[in-house]
């Protein structure tokens, strides 16, 4: 007031001005107090961070702290695609920028049918070729090298799509490069070719009884501000489709496509590199008139010929819609939180809306437990479908992934003639107990057909594909919400069109053929027949026959008309290994299978569950007194996943009460002062 008085005395300034000045002053004081509060807050934070307990020592129990900063990993992938076959070279660069010696361990995914047949290590100018050895032996070779101080690399297969690379004795300021190569057949479904390269393993849910859990659960980089994702990956694809192309696209990454001629393209990532946090997919579509119906690639290796057959049955004519019983199974576990559950919900809503009243349906959701919408499948009346859609919209993703319970509910083991029973399974497959679930599917499938829909940026494609194979259905991959419509439409076409059944191959007698898969699965609309074969002679004719909608389909393939292509041997061996591993599920003795797999893998230099690649340098690098540190390199969380929904977090322990009290007090003071000065000003 004195202030006001002086002002009015001294200046004869208009009151309005005074009021403004006073208000500004009041605001200044308030702002000052607030700023002081903030400063105080930060001051006490800094102080507290240094000494949470004044005068006492802060003891740290051992625990996994920060993921180590050294060594760092980057990856470069180069594909050469020739017709139906892709050859990939994955170059992992381990760079140690610290002053210590390190052993780097990185768990990585590869396509589930990749035939890994080469590993090399480069240290400076030298290249060390890897050897295929029985797994335990390779481990011993590697351990010895590690202890002895020589540089060495080991690569093991944990699952058909999970691998571990270990690199020992990476010296200070040193870079070691591990190069692996694999062969793979590209997929050709619905008139479109696709190549898929997984970059990250989604953290897996491990129920009881998974012995190798630590080997398939690498540490995951925590989301934290200012922390860039690890392992940048650059990708380059040299595509020679062997036929004129209409379109080349990558749905999840921005790519630059260079047109070389009508059949050849060169594709690189537009950004140069991408964090390894979601699968890379490349699609290419041939021009309509040149869409292939038949491909027969051969390679001579030793005494035998190895071959790959791709045969596309003609499109089904006419549509006969049998009444169906459809059971939808939706994964609502923590790993589905975020983008995945939105994709899944949308896909499920589309599928539900497509039901007709003659169909019967049910919906099952599962996380730590499974529950069904109806006790039994019900007629799909509009009211019930509406109710199901509302129920699905309300589902949230959290908790574990007890998939066995859901399968128990969904598969009843019965076989019915009057209805086609289809189980549609929407999940990211982020589980570690694949074998247990495969066994369950096998036992309980009955007459049902299981269709898997892989959701999210990094689904477990091995699980999805194998589950669909065991369930005699198909696998559909939806990587983004805007694909839901298109992918689901393709799936509906498969669900509703007649299936080509009882496909048999009659090889000429003199060819002495060993072909995989031994039993040809039912073929859905848009799916080709793919067979890997080893033959002694390329003579005669292969006769293929099958039945669709009561009509017999037949095709003839002259064996001598093959096109030469390298890598068919690896593909055939990989297909045989898969068949052998599957045979264990049907009761083949594990020891016998193991022997067969090892013999086959050594002959074809192939990585399997029982054989590993090991590469050892000759000269010791690390002296005995220098210590070797272990760095288990973390992987990224797949894009769109939510860390706390997967791993949980420590309880949150604060209320906003102080903030509310302080801001409340400030607002009150400000309001009162404004009222006060309003009165005094007038």
């Amino acid at each position: 007031m004195k202030y006001l008085q002086k002002k009015s005395l001294a200046g004869k300034i208009v009151l309005d001005l005074i009021v403004s000045v006073v208000l500004a002053a009041a605001m200044g004081i308030v702002a000052g107090v607030a700023l002081a509060g903030v400063t105080l807050l930060f001051a006490s934070q800094a102080e507290a961070a240094e000494a949470p307990l004044q005068g006492t020592l802060l003891l740290r129990p051992p625990g996994p702290g920060e993921p180590l900063s050294a060594p760092l990993l980057s990856t470069a992938v180069a594909f050469r695609v020739c017709g139906m076959v892709a050859r990939a070279r994955v170059v992992q660069t381990f760079r140690n920028s610290s002053a210590d010696w390190y052993e780097g361990v990185y768990v990585l995914p590869l396509p589930d049918d990749a035939a890994v047949d080469r590993l090399r290590v480069r240290v400076g100018e030298r290249t060390i070729e890897g050897e295929i050895q029985e797994r335990a032996l390779a481990q011993r070779t590697y351990d010895a090298a590690r202890r002895y101080g020589t540089r060495a690399a080991l690569m093991d297969q944990e699952r058909p799509n999970i691998f571990t690379t270990r690199v020992a004795n990476i010296g200070p300021q040193e870079t070691i490069v591990v190069e692996l190569e694999y062969q793979e057949a590209v997929r050709y479904v619905d008139g479109r070719f696709s190549l898929r390269f997984p970059m990250v393993i989604g953290p897996r849910y491990i129920p009881h009884g998974v012995a190798d859990a630590p080997r398939i659960t690498p540490a995951v980089l925590r989301p934290r501000e200012g922390r860039a994702p690890v392992n940048p990956v650059s990708i380059r694809v040299e595509l020679d489709a062997g036929m004129p192309l209409a379109q080349v696209s990558s749905p999840y990454h921005r790519v630059d496509v260079k047109v070389l001629d009508e059949a050849r393209r060169e594709i690189t990532l537009a950004e140069g590199s991408t964090p390894a946090n979601r699968d890379f997919v490349l699609h290419w579509v041939p021009r309509r008139e040149s869409a292939p119906r038949l491909a027969w690639f051969t390679e001579k290796k030793g005494e035998r010929y190895y071959a790959l057959l791709m045969l596309m049955p003609p499109a089904a004519a006419g549509e006969q819609r049998l009444p169906r019983e459809v059971v939808f199974v939706l994964d609502t576990s923590g790993s589905m939180a975020g983008a995945s559950i939105r994709q899944a919900r949308e896909a499920l809503e589309l599928a539900l809306a497509r039901l007709v009243p003659e169909d019967r349906f049910n919906v099952i959701e599962f996380n730590s437990t499974a529950q069904a919408l109806f006790p039994q499948a019900r007629e799909a009346s509009a009211v019930r479908v509406e109710r199901a859609i509302r129920w699905v919209r309300g589902l949230e993703a959290r908790g574990g992934t007890e998939m066995a319970q859901a399968l128990d509910l969904a598969l009843d083991g019965r076989d019915s003639d009057e209805r086609v029973r289809q189980v549609i399974f929407l999940t990211d497959g982020a589980i570690g107990n694949e074998e247990q679930l495969f066994r369950l599917m096998r036992e309980r499938l009955g007459g049902s057909r299981l269709f898997t829909i892989g959701i999210g940026s990094a689904p477990n494609s091995h699980f999805m594909r194998k589950a669909a194979e065991l369930g005699r259905g198909t696998f559909t991959y939806i990587g983004r919400v805007d694909e839901v419509g298109e992918k689901m439409a393709a799936l509906f076409a498969k669900l509703e069109a007649p299936v080509l059944k009882g496909v048999t191959l009659r090889w000429p007698e003199q060819a002495r053929v060993e072909a995989w898969p031994a039993r040809i699965p039912d073929l859905y609309a848009g799916e080709p027949l793919v067979v890997s074969a080893a033959l002694e002679r390329l003579e005669g004719e292969l006769r293929v026959s099958g039945v669709r909608a009561g009509r017999i389909w037949e095709a003839h393939v002259p064996l001598s008309a093959g096109e030469g292509s390298a890598g068919m041997g690896s593909l055939w061996a990989r297909a045989k290994v898969a068949a052998l591993m599957d045979s264990m599920r049907e009761g083949a003795p594990p020891e016998k299978v193991r022997g067969q797999v090892i013999a086959l893998a050594i002959a074809h230099r192939l990585m399997t569950k029982y054989t590993s690649f090991v590469a050892v340098d000759r000269t010791p690098a690390r002296s005995a007194d220098a210590q070797l540190k272990l760095a288990e390199l973390p992987t990224n969380l797949p894009e769109g996943w939510e860390y706390d929904k997967v791993f949980g977090e420590l309880p949150q322990g604060a209320t906003d009460s102080r903030f509310a009290l302080l801001t409340g007090l400030l607002c009150l003071l400000l309001g009162i002062s404004m009222l006060w000065f309003r009165r005094s000003a007038v």
Binding site: V14, L53, L59, R222, L650, Q652, G653, R678
Partner: protein, 235 residues
């Protein structure tokens, strides 16, 4: 108006005469805006202040009700709800004799329970039992005392059956909220008290956690500390 003003201020008679107000008043609209702003600020301030006070009052009042529920728990009611619509119940009584602290621990370490008391994280051992009992709480209410717990401090747990178990603080630590390995069950009987960190932060929702590890004193001390490995696969 002018007259009122003078009366109100009281001392203005001592002022020299002020020139008559000519076009001094702020326009009517402007005054209205100012009045509205002041009222809005008062309302907001009142609401915020009331909210803050309510959070605190609720936290401490609830403990009184829970104390009564605890008596019923000791009498044999395993799920004695402190008030009829509660979805939690007391599972232990925690006291720190040296600080004169007494707290009732509720079941569940989610926001709904933590508003009323420290909460026991489901899936971990119950306080007083074997294994690792994880208890979360707010740093500005029930677990504010954690900053005063020094290694060696005694904590007494009264269990639902009326038994007592003593714990001694062994160390304290600042962890990240994702350090869930702190909840693993292997190892000796212990309490893991978790609250937010830093203690003096104004806002909730920080990423750091202050953790106090207290080991049962009737246990032989496990000197070779267990390797705390990742628990990602346990979840």
């Amino acid at each position: 108006m002018r007259h009122e003003h003078e009366l109100c201020l009281g001392v203005e008679c001592a002022w020299p005469p002020v020139p008559p107000p000519v076009a001094r008043r702020p326009p009517r609209a402007q005054r209205r805006v100012r009045l509205a702003l002041a009222i809005a600020l008062l309302a907001l301030g009142g609401w915020q202040f009331g909210r803050g006070a309510w959070l605190q009052a609720k936290a401490w009042l609830a403990q009184v009700l829970i104390a009564q529920a605890w008596q019923r728990t000791l009498a044999g009611d395993a799920r004695a709800k402190p008030w009829p619509w509660a979805d939690t119940w007391p599972v232990a009584r925690l006291s720190v004799p040296s600080l004169g602290i007494e707290r009732y621990v509720l079941e569940g370490a989610d926001g709904a329970a933590l508003a009323f008391g420290p909460g026991h994280l489901r899936g971990t051992a119950l306080p007083g039992e074997q294994g690792n009992s994880v208890i979360g709480g707010h740093r500005d209410t029930h677990l504010a005392f954690l900053r005063r717990l020094a290694p060696g401090a005694q904590i007494v747990v009264e269990t639902r059956s009326g038994g007592r178990r003593r714990y001694a603080v062994r160390y304290t630590q600042v962890l990240d909220r994702y350090d869930i390995w702190a909840t693993r069950q292997e190892g000796p009987a212990r309490l893991t008290l978790v609250t937010c960190f830093p203690f003096d932060a104004l806002r909730a929702g920080g990423t750091q956690r202050y953790v106090v590890w207290a080991y049962a004193v009737d246990q032989p001390k496990n000197r070779g500390r267990e390797r705390a490995d990742r628990t990602s696969h346990l979840l």
